[in-house]
């Protein structure tokens, strides 16, 4: 069992967390001007990196969304950052 750190609650079991999405995507606006390709890329396309990654996670038990930097090969967690403010 790996421990992830919720910025609000501290270290908790991995089963309490839910992976949301890769960090850094910006919703294309305004909607009326967005082409299908750009919208599909925003919704579905991922870098899916091998190694260092930045992701948005949800701590399901407290409802906190936060940014987690970790490694997809070693599973090392670099840091958890609160999304309160403008971290991501």
């Amino acid at each position: 069992m790996q421990l992830f750190t919720c910025p609000f609650c501290g270290p908790r079991a991995e089963t309490e967390f839910f992976y949301g999405a890769e960090a850094g995507k910006t919703r294309p606006e305004p909607a009326s001007d967005v082409k299908a390709e750009a919208w599909a890329a925003y919704l579905h396309t991922n870098a899916n990196p091998k190694g260092a990654t930045r992701e948005i996670w949800l701590h399901q038990t407290c409802g906190e969304f936060f940014l987690m930097e970790r490694d997809t090969v070693t599973h090392d967690v670099v840091q958890s950052v609160s999304l309160r403010g403008d971290a991501a």
Partner: protein, 417 residues
């Protein structure tokens, strides 16, 4: 030298001390140019090479494999073959694959040990029985075999199942596909490798692709750990590393990577002659010819390239197994492993041209790639040979995300992908 496999050749070789068996495939040095290069020497890559040579007569083909053939997800799955899907596009694809599997041992002259022992997906409530009836209807309309089973029929198939009325996940009945079954995974890779090699295909192991040769905006070959190799067309069949190789070619794919675990128990005498899936627990199980229980479940929910699983999912899978078969609590577990699966947003594969002209995709099979090996190879070979889709692969093109024509099998067939 003995070239062809048969009962007679086995007998003759037995008398000669098995000294005359020919090497099953060569280990050639890479040439400087091929008509087609296929990246990835798993089942899909090897099948692609075979069908290119066999169906399309294109024999100047190389399969480049960074490790050893069949050592990725082809060697890590639970070997189930089925076509019990919901949408017409999926049934057309997976049933085409099952039909090719049915003739494969003979076609390849290699015993893939296909055992059509059937797959039962158990329903745990009246509501699930109604959904099961809907899936059975859809499968029958789409032209594959399916049967709605009663509780008694399910129990007759697997008498050791937990039959208690107070079970957390009681048996109400289920969906049965009798043509489904299991096959020997290594034999599928080795059979395609041997048959492709005999048609002139070069299988080059220990050859990792490090980049792409792009000329005039077109893929003109690959840079590898064994030098530059040029090709008219390139196929990508690397499963879990699709995003990594795509990044070298300059594009991203709609994929997430997850670990899928499997495990086997110690071998015991025959006690389960079908494949059982409990949607309630997410656990599925079959018994190998050696007697081991082969057990799988859902994916680890943490995106990972680690090729090893985390304990919480092992616990869920084994708890589910004991809910299904309380008597299996006596079994000792023998091995546990993980493969990394490339999952698309709609749990259906990506087959078609990539954003880089000259490079074609066969990926995104997620947790279900083994059953699709013959079809995936056949369809990628068609693309590489003709430059166009086969009608079966057209719906699975990358453009379905822009057209909002997703084939959402995670929702449609309700099977734990």
């Amino acid at each position: 030298m003995t070239d062809r496999y048969s009962a007679l050749s086995l007998f003759k070789e037995g008398l000669r001390g098995h000294k005359g068996w020919k090497q099953a495939w060569r280990s050639p040095e890479p040439q400087s140019h091929y008509d087609v290069i296929i990246i990835g020497g798993g089942g899909h890559g090897l099948a692609t090479a075979y069908y290119l040579a066999k169906v399309h007569g294109i024999r100047r083909v190389a399969v480049l494999e960074k490790g050893w053939i069949g050592g990725g997800n082809t060697g890590r799955n639970t070997t189930t073959i089925r076509s019990n899907y919901f949408y017409p596009e999926s049934v057309a694809l997976y049933d085409f694959s099952l039909k090719l599997y049915e003739g494969l041992s003979k076609e390849l002259n290699y015993n893939i040990m296909l055992s059509q022992r059937g797959v039962a997906t158990v329903a745990h409530s009246d509501a699930e029985m109604e959904i099961s009836a809907r899936i059975v209807n859809a499968m029958q309309i789409n032209g594959t075999d399916a049967e709605l089973m009663t509780r008694d029929q399910i129990i007759a198939k697997a008498p050791l199942l937990n039959q208690s009325n107070t079970a957390r996940y009681p048996i109400f009945g289920g969906v049965w596909q009798g043509r489904a079954g299991v096959a020997r995974h290594d034999a599928v890779a080795w059979g395609y490798a041997r048959a492709a090699d005999r048609l002139g295909v070069d299988i080059i192991q220990g050859c990792e692709v490090s980049g792409f040769l792009i000329e005039g905006g077109r893929c003109a070959g690959v840079e590898t750990s064994r030098g530059t190799i040029r090709a008219d067309r390139v196929g990508l069949a690397v499963a879990g590393h699709s995003s990594v190789v795509a990044e070298k070619a300059g594009f991203k794919l709609p994929l997430h990577i997850y670990t899928l675990q499997a495990m086997v128990s110690e071998p015991v005498k025959p006690c389960l002659d079908t494949v059982l899936l409990y949607p309630g627990t997410g656990t599925y199980v079959s018994q190998s010819d050696k007697g081991e229980m082969i057990i799988g479940g859902g994916i680890d929910r943490v995106p990972s390239y680690a090729q090893r699983g985390n304990p919480p999912v092992q616990e869920t899978v084994i708890a589910g197994l004991l809910e299904m078969f309380p008597s299996f609590g006596q079994l000792k577990m023998l091995r546990q492993w993980g493969g990394i699966v490339d999952v698309t947003p709609d749990s259906s594969p990506l087959i078609g041209p990539s954003p880089l002209p000259g490079l074609y995709l066969n990926c995104g099979w997620g947790t279900g790639g083994f059953k699709a090996i013959p079809a995936g190879g056949y369809l990628l070979a068609h693309l590489l040979a003709t430059g166009d889709h086969h009608p079966i692969s057209r719906p699975f093109d990358l453009d379905r995300f822009e057209r909002c024509r997703l084939i959402d099998e995670a929702a449609g067939s309700g099977i734990a992908h």
